[in-house]
Amino acid sequence: MKTYQCIVCGLIYDEATGWPADGIAAGTKWEDVPADWECPDCGVAKADFEMVEI
């Protein structure tokens, strides 16, 4: 399981916990996060602004 960080605001997406508030189940791989998902903190679109693996 990997973690990714939004390069604009620093939000961390952890594949292990997913993002249940947006219906993304724990264990969801970054590549399986929907393309229209946005950073919940700063609104940067996944497709426009890849988070970076950490």
């Binding site: 960080q5 390069i7 604009v8 605001c9 620093g10 946005e38 950073c39 903190d41 700063c42 609104g43 940067v44 679109a45 426009d48 602004f49 970076v52 693996e53 950490i54």
Partner: protein
């Protein structure tokens, strides 16, 4: 019950509203904004072009959707004209409203250069989604593939636009009075790296000079520089910087410096009035130094703390260092610029490791207080973040 009123509908206003709602399901929230209140990510404006994005595609939620999501009342197209801090009333273009607590989140205004010439009022700047729409229209009249774009200012935003537009096939000229791009934020070695990368992208850098006038010429523009050069441009974009919007704060006699001065809790000099985002000047250390922090990460940190204070739990804003990531894909940089007061007495140390340049800034006591790295990636960024505050 009198509401918490938030003036503005940018990242600052909306993050604060969301945070308040997480903590208090019942608090009455009124957001008053001069624009149409659509939510968008402003940092995407400087790299949306190469992705062929229209302004409308950048707005992810309308004001109506935001109002529903947050559980707030949002008044759009309404300008706040005056704040009466004694009677706790805001006077707007749609009437007067009482507040229990007020948060000013009006952002910053693009600095306008005093340029001569009969077309100087055609110089554009992009600090709002509507500006982006205008800019995009001017760049692509009749779907023309490429335009000649002159950008004034090789700071963060000027360099990002230059890289983005050049990647899209536009002919970009970038002008700056400094002899290197990004001179205010980056170590010289990294500025040189960026200069080389932007040049390799085909961007024409005119450094150590300024634009003096913009005139109409042959259906386009003629830009004259202080060094005597004359450029032809279809679009002139100014990216010389932003100035916190102080109009409301000054008319309400709040303490202001470069921004609206706030204390460690985000409070202005008036009771129950807070300021957040690009308009604010935050306390940045325990010695009482203050600075505007016009970036997303500090907005989110401050919004969380202010939301707690507003809902009854007094909370200090704990601003942590967060790197500024420069969105120049031809030379991706991560920076923590050294604090202003340390610059005169400290020094940069540069390490070149293969393709990568790492610059560390040490203050007079030999403590690492800033850095820059390119090409950046998460691992090296984290290692450098961890090293901040350590001595050699």
């Amino acid at each position: 019950m009198k509401p918490i009123i938030i003036i503005g509908a940018g990242m600052a206003a909306y993050s604060l509203a969301r945070e308040v709602r997480k903590l208090d399901k019942a608090a009455a929230l009124l957001i008053i904004t001069a624009d149409d209140g659509g939510f968008y990510s402003k940092p995407m404006l400087s790299n949306a072009f190469a992705q062929k994005k229209l302004a409308a595609q950048l707005i992810s939620q309308s004001a109506v959707q935001m109002a529903e999501q947050i559980g707030a009342h949002i008044m759009t197209k309404t300008r706040v004209k005056h704040i009466d801090t004694n009677n706790k009333v805001v006077d707007t273009s749609s009437g007067a409203f009482d507040y229990a607590q007020l948060v000013i989140a009006v952002g910053a205004q693009a600095i306008r250069l005093g340029l001569a010439g009969d077309a100087s009022d055609h110089v554009l700047s992009v600090n709002h989604i509507d500006d982006y729409a205008t800019f995009r229209d001017k760049l692509l009249p009749d779907q023309k593939a490429s335009a000649r774009v002159t950008i004034l200012g090789a700071g963060l935003i000027g360099c990002e636009f230059a890289d983005d537009l050049a990647a899209h096939g536009h002919h970009v000229t970038l002008i700056d009075p400094n002899v290197l791009p990004l001179a205010a934020l980056a170590a010289p070695a990294l500025s040189q790296g960026l200069q080389a990368a932007l040049s390799a992208r085909g961007i024409d850098l005119r450094l150590g000079t300024t634009a003096t006038s913009v005139d109409h010429a042959d259906g386009a523009f003629k830009v004259t520089l202080a060094n005597g050069d004359v450029l032809a441009a279809d679009v002139v974009l100014s990216a010389v910087g932003l100035r916190p919007d102080l109009a409301l704060a000054q008319s309400a006699q709040l303490a202001t410096g470069r921004g609206i001065i706030v204390d460690s809790h985000g409070r202005t000099s008036a009771a129950d009035v807070y300021a957040l985002g690009d308009c604010a000047e935050y306390r940045i250390d325990n010695e009482g130094r203050t600075s505007p922090l016009p970036y997303i990460a500090p907005i989110l940190t401050a919004a969380r703390a202010i939301a707690k204070t507003l809902t009854g739990e007094d909370t200090e804003i704990d601003l942590k260092h967060s790197p500024v990531i420069v969105k120049t894909p031809s030379y991706p940089l991560a920076l923590v610029p050294p604090p202003q007061h340390a610059i005169a007495t400290g020094r940069w140390e540069t390490e070149v490791d293969g393709d990568r340049t790492v610059c560390r800034f040490f203050d007079a006591q030999g403590v690492m207080v800033g850095f820059g790295v390119a090409p950046q990636e998460a691992k090296i960024r984290q290692a450098l973040m961890a090293a901040l505050g350590t001595t050699v």
